[in-house]
């Protein structure tokens, strides 16, 4: 597969409710291609976070290739939708999506994390076309997205700001600061995904912290809340549609995911939070991604 949907700006926004089986299959195929890109990029670079990238891949595929109103030839277009990958360490997934979308050549991907590369170890808005905001230090994406959402309202633009956080990331206090402010400012144009893969660097979320349950906390903060399977693209698209229908309050979509999704030996294996596969492991991973699921 090569670039997808390059230069296609859907002014009226995708009507995700009426997605055809073919279109759905195409999105699944894109997600699979992104997974191959991720694992290959990290293998070639010799460093990166494979499992956290794989858990968020389907959400990114749905957003970049179906939902978002963006123009790869005009990455700074003021009225574009924005996406902040608050869990910035999952950037290989974002880089793969941006390259496939046509923001920069696929040949950049193997240069991940190397000197003079446009692809930093964590996303850098000044170096990488299509990266709407610099991230990597956890917890900050919702506050930044709130700023974008408020700017959109002030300027009279209709764009949406999407933020993707991890679950462990929600342990940061700034998250809850942002939730209170977003409620007060009724930012219906702010939509947050939680990549709920259940693991963080040090182990299972439930073992590291008292974070769970997520949804009741978020509901108490006055947000519109949904819970979905984060690997079911139809569910992702439907949830976005419901979130957009909420005009006067921000939305969160808690997406249950599998860390390392798509590569059996990485699934739910936290030793793949960070690290590069060997040649043999890369071959095994590519074989596992061989067909469309």
């Amino acid at each position: 597969m090569n670039k997808v949907n390059v230069n296609k700006v859907d002014v009226d926004r995708a009507d995700v409710k009426e997605i055809s089986p073919n279109e759905l299959n195409e999105l699944k195929e894109i997600a699979n291609t992104l997974r191959k890109d991720i694992i290959t990029m990290i293998y070639q670079a010799g460093d990166g976070h494979p499992a956290p990238s794989l858990s968020v891949t389907d959400i990114l595929a749905a957003l970049y290739f179906r939902v978002m109103n963006i123009d790869p030839l005009n990455p700074d277009w003021p009225e574009r939708d924005r996406l902040i990958l608050s869990k910035g360490h999952a950037c290989p997934a974002m880089y793969a999506a941006l390259a496939r979308k046509g923001y920069f050549p696929l040949s950049e991907l193997p240069k991940l994390r190397t000197l003079h590369s446009i692809l930093q170890g964590h996303p850098d808005m000044k170096k990488t076309p299509g990266v709407d905001f610099t991230t990597g230090s956890l917890g900050n994406g919702i506050s930044i997205g709130l700023g974008m959402a408020l700017a959109g309202k002030l300027k009279g633009y209709n764009y949406y700001t999407y933020v993707i956080t991890g679950d462990g990331e929600l342990e940061e206090g700034i998250i809850w600061e942002a939730l209170m402010a977003a409620k007060r400012y009724e930012t219906g144009n702010l939509i947050v995904f939680v990549d709920n893969n259940g693991m963080q660097s040090g182990g299972k979320v439930e073992d590291v912290s008292g974070l769970y349950p997520i949804i009741p906390k978020w509901e108490a903060f006055g947000w519109h809340c949904q819970s979905i399977d984060g690997h079911d693209i139809e569910q992702i698209l439907h949830a976005v549609e419901c979130a957009r229908a909420e005009k006067d309050r921000p939305s969160v979509i808690v997406a249950k995911t599998v860390k390392g999704k798509g590569i059996p030996f990485m699934e739910n294996n936290n030793s793949w939070h960070k690290g590069a596969p060997t040649r043999e492991q890369w071959e095994e991973a590519m074989a596992a991604l061989g067909g469309v699921k």
Binding site: P78, D124, M125, K126, D132, F133, T134, G136, S137, N140, S143, I144, G145, L146, G147, M148, A149, L150, A151, G152, L154, K155, G173, I174, E177, A178, M180, A181, R184, Y185
Partner: protein, 320 residues
């Protein structure tokens, strides 16, 4: 002592900037009263974003606003910007070079005065100075705050302006020009010693130098209102003339003006230096003027510092 509020001066100028530029917005963290924001709020309610008592989120939010073309001024207590939200300032504003301006109240021990250590901020300049790409300004008084606010609005990128308690001594009787990044000679009695200063202690520096002149010592008083970018050339030229330097600041002697001048001295013109400032201790509650006297930033401390540095200068001359 004639006083004029640096906080009021800030908000008046900001309102004026907002009249001219629709992208100017105010971001607070339950600090609208601190920075006397009423007139701004009344005129531009839709351009005030109060994040509540959450400085980290306020700074990150301002970064998001700036990424969409707005020019946010984040205004609250100096320490809550530079310490509590330090990482957000560094990683999400300075690193992407976003056009966010920070205005920090209660700068220095005089700025926090009766509030005590939790609200006295004497590390702010050192912290901001170590972050790449931030313009750091310590205006002398209210009129200079006005000028500095306009000056930083004319550059594209992050800036930090230190303001005070609202009970701030007047230094300049008139609105004299403010040139970002340039030192200003306040008085040149001679070339015996250079006394570098900024902010609140300027008046007492001038008073100390008057005493010194009566003793036959002829100092040159230099205001360094822009700590970054530092006017290295201007400072080195003064050091060349005087061969001795004293710094006077309301800040820890580590990290602020004293350190900045020491760096220029070490790299460009080695001369004896004595630093006057908070001597790396925690102060306490008290009235501003009394606090400065108590914690080593008194007129007599400045006089002593100059006399000490001149003895060093003399000794070095003999050693040569």
């Amino acid at each position: 002592m004639k006083q004029q509020s640096t906080r009021v001066a800030f908000i008046e100028k900001l309102t004026e900037l907002a009249d001219e530029n629709p992208n100017v917005v105010l971001v607070c963290s339950d600090s609208t009263k601190v920075v006397k924001a009423d007139q701004f709020i009344e005129k531009y309610p839709e351009r005030v974003f109060d994040m509540g008592i959450s400085e980290q989120s306020a700074v990150a939010c301002a970064a998001g606003l700036a990424s969409c073309g707005l020019m946010p001024f984040v205004a609250t207590y100096a320490g809550f910007i530079t310490m509590r939200a330090c990482e957000q300032v560094r990683t999400f504003v300075a690193y992407p070079g976003l056009n966010v301006k920070f205005v920090g109240a209660n700068g220095g021990i005089a700025g926090g005065e009766r509030e005590g250590v939790t609200h006295q901020f004497f590390e702010d300049l050192g912290i901001m100075r170590t972050i790449p790409g931030i313009t750091v300004v310590v205006p002398a008084d209210a009129s200079q705050v006005s000028m500095a606010v306009r000056a930083v609005s004319e550059i594209n990128g992050p800036a930090y302006i230190r303001i005070g308690s609202g009970r701030d001594p007047v230094v300049f009787e008139d609105y004299i020009p403010f040139e970002l990044g340039k030192i200003r000679i306040l008085k040149e009695a001679g070339t015996d010693v250079a006394v570098f200063t900024n902010g609140y202690p300027i008046n007492r520096t001038i008073e100390a130098c008057n005493i010194l002149e009566k003793k036959g010592i002829k100092p040159i008083i230099v205001e360094v209102h822009t700590l970054k970018p530092l006017d290295i050339e201007g400072i080195a030229a003064i050091l060349e003339k005087t061969g001795a330097a004293v710094t006077v600041e309301d800040h820890n002697i580590i990290g602020g003006l004293g350190s900045a001048i020491a760096e220029v001295i070490a790299e460009h013109k080695p001369v004896p230096l004595v630093r006057v400032g908070l001597r790396d201790v925690f102060p306490e509650s008290g009235e501003a003027e009394m606090l400065l006297d108590e914690y080593g930033i008194g007129v007599s401390d400045i006089v002593n510092a100059v006399e000490t540095v001149l003895r060093k200068k003399e000794r070095e001359r003999w050693n040569k």
